[in-house]
Symmetry: C2
Subunit: 336 residues, 2 copies
Amino acid sequence: MRVIVDMMGGDKAPLEVLRGVVSAAGECSASFVLVGNREELLRIARQYACDISGFEIVHTSSVITMEDDPIAVLRGKKDSSMITGLQMLADGKGDAFVSAGNTGALFTGASLLVKRLSGVGRAAIGTVLPGTAPFLLLDAGANITVSAEYLEQFAVMGSAYMKSMFSISAPVVGLLNNGTEEGKGTPLHVEANHRLRQCRAIRYVGNVEGSEAMFGACDVLVTDGFTGNVFLKALEGTCKWMMKTLKKEYSKNAMTKLSALLFQGSLAEMKHSLDPSEYGGSPILGISKPVIKAHGSSDAKAFKNAILEAIRYAESGVSEEIAKAALDFGASQAEV
Amino acid sequence: MRVIVDMMGGDKAPLEVLRGVVSAAGECSASFVLVGNREELLRIARQYACDISGFEIVHTSSVITMEDDPIAVLRGKKDSSMITGLQMLADGKGDAFVSAGNTGALFTGASLLVKRLSGVGRAAIGTVLPGTAPFLLLDAGANITVSAEYLEQFAVMGSAYMKSMFSISAPVVGLLNNGTEEGKGTPLHVEANHRLRQCRAIRYVGNVEGSEAMFGACDVLVTDGFTGNVFLKALEGTCKWMMKTLKKEYSKNAMTKLSALLFQGSLAEMKHSLDPSEYGGSPILGISKPVIKAHGSSDAKAFKNAILEAIRYAESGVSEEIAKAALDFGASQAEV
């Protein structure tokens, strides 16, 4: 197992990314290729006493920023760490690629350089979210506009992912909607709901409201990337805000402080179960090889978990499972 | 002040609605007109020892269900409690109308019977949400599809609401989007962002991500009804799930139970501040007279708060403020 890492992507790169790699290397037997500015990496490794002597470094000179246009970078920033890393994956110089950089650029680069699986019209970003049972949200932010056919493909790909990665034999799929009744949502949702109901490749439960998703309504929550992103951030923001409110209440007086002391084990556990960084990175489903997006604000722990997710993803054979599913259900007719 | 109440709408009608009215009547000097099945209301009042001798009852025979088509009920269920109540409001037989019934039917009925304010192309449901500061989400679920022009009108109406009801002299408006950068979102969002930036009638901060909304990013969060509903339910679901997780953790052992005991005042306060029923009902902004939607699952307390919100709304002159704003900014050219 050989993992290619974009060392320059993300708000806290390259230091936290480097620490994440070192930490992951300590927990697995994979080898690593670090793609980024060699001089900067060596300097930081020296400065923070990180031993990177065991890693291969591939030098790149430019960096993709959050403001860069996804399409433009494919031509204009071929020498960036992200595009170089993706090309290396495409060329078989590694088994998986992990990046915390510009989501749009990573998604576009993965789709065009590493290529989509045959039969997949659009790849999608999947994010596992906490709830009474973990569930996969997809698309979590890549495809701002979609067709009903794409949503059906997301359902099939998401089911294959939950089968392989969470050992759920027949994952329940729901369509994120503004009500459970038939006919809810935009014309696109009405059409998608109809298509999903007809689709034999999945176990479809129907429309699912956002409030029910974290209470086990489905294992795979299908939506377009815009709505998925809003849903994801509403969940993240609410968790963050409630933890902040709790903290404020706990520091109120001597009694609440004592209460916090008695509860600290449980609080740590809650924080852990709510922490997106614990869930590792978000795979781009539908790509021929494993490409994992780490959160843009990833610290070392989050990046380490994204790497471990990439390894699990590569070893699990999800890509093969998705390829098979996509062909099986006739997605090969989809617009490519 | 005379409040017209739909006694038959909502999951817990008519009992909890009746209790809500009795409770509200004890806290204000308004008079009430109860619209619903007289026999059933009298029977329930007797059974549960509610004194309703001071209320006028207007008898209606049919009830609008959650499955009813919003347009069809306007013709087919004229004798329902909701349509009768809306017609009474339109005819000046009361100052405000409150209902926990079918949102679509209430929205359509309010728009067509009570009528929109001059210059308002589409009314919108506003919902005040908790955060570091309360903020108004609109549209929270009525307009599944919108135009950029409608979103601009929502911004103007929402600003007028926050000015009148929360005494914020220049409310900050944000557009719910999947990133803060210019150019984010669907073509509709790009156009709306551009329009809002040009709009002199409001104080526009730009695109706002869902995760920042509860941290004071804006006072008015503008979006279409589909996305607004998904956002609202993600927030509600996450709050509910976290409170459930807390409860489970607290009941774990003797130490955590003691911790909960020491923290119970704060917990009650948190629950209170997170409880949507505490925020009263959701006004339909842009209608010529106050129409307030109570949550479909309203219990007596939630319904009482919706009634008190209706009274505040009627007394504050929000409708006049919105009417003035809509005309001022030239919305009179909007498609009606």
